[in-house]
C-alpha cells in the first residue's frame, strides 16, 4: 500500500495508457492488478478517482451506470505544461520555481568555454 500520491500516479498511469477510452472503476481495478500487480479496494479506488477529478485530471461520465472515467489530457500534454512553466520566458517567469540556469547568451557561453579550456 503506497502513499496517496503513489496511488494517484498508478491510477493516472492506467487512464493515460487507455488513451481516450473511458474506463469503469472495475476496468481500472483490473488493469492495476494485471499491469502493476496492485490490488486496490473498490472504495479506495473510487476515492482516488474522485480526488483526481476534483484536481481536474480526470473526467467522469455519470450518465449511465457503471460510471466511466477518463484522463482529461494526455501524459505528454501535462509534461509539456510543466516544462512550459519551467522553460518559460524570463519575462513571465513565476517566482514559483528557481531554475539552475536559464538561457545563456552565446558570448557568455563562449567566455565560460574559454575559461574551462584555459583551466584544463
Amino acid at each position: 500500500m503506497g502513499s496517496l500520491g503513489e496511488l494517484e500516479r498508478s491510477v493516472m498511469d492506467v487512464l493515460w495508457d487507455a488513451d481516450e477510452v473511458a474506463l469503469t472503476a472495475y476496468d481500472v481495478q483490473e488493469h492495476l492488478e494485471r499491469e502493476q500487480g496492485r490490488q486496490l479496494a473498490a472504495t479506495t479506488l473510487l476515492t482516488v478517482l474522485s480526488r483526481l477529478e476534483k484536481k481536474g485530471f480526470v473526467a467522469s461520465d455519470r450518465s449511465a451506470r457503471p460510471h466511466r472515467y477518463r484522463a482529461t489530457a494526455s501524459r505528454v500534454d501535462h509534461v509539456a505544461e510543466l516544462m512550459h512553466e519551467v522553460l518559460g520566458d524570463a519575462g513571465d517567469r513565476s517566482a514559483v520555481l528557481a531554475r539552475f540556469v536559464g538561457g545563456v547568451s552565446a558570448e557568455d557561453a563562449e567566455v565560460l568555454r574559454r575559461l574551462l579550456a584555459g583551466a584544463a
Binding site: R9, M12, L82, A90, A95, A98, V101, V104, A106, L116
Partner: protein, 252 residues
C-alpha cells in the same frame, strides 16, 4: 506650516526620491555585489522597505501640511498607497501559492521520487532541466531524465547543492516580495530592475553554496550543459550584466 514641519517633509521627500531612483541605479551598476551577493541582497531589501515607508511618510507629511485642520483626510493618500502596496503583496502571495500547488500536483503525477536523493524527483523529459519548488519542508528539487543522463556525478552534486541552497535560504520569499513590488508599480522601471537584480543575486548565493563542496570548473561545466540559448528577455540591460557576473565570478 512650521519650519520644523517643512524641514521634516522635505527631508522625507528627499529620502523617498533618492531611494526611488539614484540609489537603486547606483547599486545595480556597481561591481561589488557580485563579490558579496548576500550584502547586496540585504541592501536591496532595505532600499525597498525604506523606500516604501519614506514614500508613504512623505505623502502623509505633505497631506498634513496642506490640510492641517483635517488630519484624517490628510492621511488618506498615504493610507491609500500603503493599502495598495499591501493588497498587491497579498495578491502576489495568493497567486504564488496557487501556482505552486498546481505545479506540485502535476509533479506528483508525472515524476517519480529519486532513488537516492531525498525530496528530489525525476521528470521524464529529454530536455536537461533542474529546478526547485519551495517552500521549506514541502520543497522539492526536480531533475529531468535528460539532466541525469547529461551530467556526471560531480556536476550533478553541484546542481543539487545549488537548488538546496535556494530552498534552505528561502529565496522564494525575496523573489515573491520583489515581484509584488514590481506588479504594484508597473510604470516604475526601477521596480523591474530591482526584481531582476535580486533574481541574479539569489542565483549567485546558491552558486556560493555549491562552491563550498564543488570546484568552480565543475559548476561551470554543469552550467554549460544545462543552459539553453538566451531568449530576448535575457538581453535586457541590467539583467544581462548581473547575469554575466554570475559566470565571470567563477574563478579557475
Amino acid at each position: 506650516m512650521t519650519l520644523a514641519e517643512l524641514a521634516a517633509a522635505s527631508a522625507l521627500i528627499l529620502v523617498a526620491v533618492l531611494l526611488a531612483w539614484p540609489v537603486p541605479i547606483l547599486l545595480s551598476r556597481a561591481a561589488w555585489p557580485a563579490r558579496a551577493p548576500g550584502w547586496a541582497l540585504l541592501l536591496w531589501q532595505l532600499i525597498a522597505v525604506a523606500g516604501g515607508f519614506s514614500m508613504i511618510g512623505a505623502l502623509w507629511l505633505v497631506g498634513l501640511a496642506l490640510l492641517p485642520q483635517w488630519p484624517l483626510l490628510a492621511a488618506l493618500p498615504a493610507a491609500a498607497l500603503a493599502a495598495y502596496l499591501l493588497v498587491h503583496l497579498g495578491i502576489t502571495i495568493v497567486q504564488f501559492e496557487r501556482q505552486r500547488r498546481r505545479h506540485l500536483a502535476l509533479l506528483q503525477l508525472l515524476s517519480a521520487p529519486h532513488p537516492t536523493h531525498a525530496r528530489t524527483r525525476v521528470l521524464d523529459d529529454a530536455a536537461p532541466v533542474a529546478y526547485c519548488l519551495p517552500r521549506g519542508i514541502g520543497s522539492v528539487t526536480v531533475l529531468s531524465q535528460g539532466l541525469l543522463d547529461g551530467l556526471d556525478q560531480d556536476e550533478l552534486a553541484a546542481v543539487i547543492a545549488h537548488e538546496r541552497a535556494h530552498v534552505e535560504q528561502r529565496h522564494e520569499v525575496l523573489l515573491v516580495a520583489f515581484k509584488a513590488w514590481r506588479d504594484a508599480l508597473p510604470w516604475f522601471p526601477i521596480a523591474a530592475r530591482a526584481e531582476s537584480e535580486v533574481a541574479a543575486l539569489v542565483e549567485m548565493r546558491a552558486d556560493d553554496s555549491a562552491r563550498r563542496t564543488t570546484r568552480d570548473e565543475v559548476l561551470a561545466r554543469a552550467i554549460l550543459r544545462v543552459a539553453g540559448p538566451a531568449g530576448p528577455a535575457e538581453h535586457a540591460s541590467s539583467r544581462r550584466d548581473r547575469h554575466r557576473d554570475r559566470f565571470l565570478r567563477l574563478s579557475f
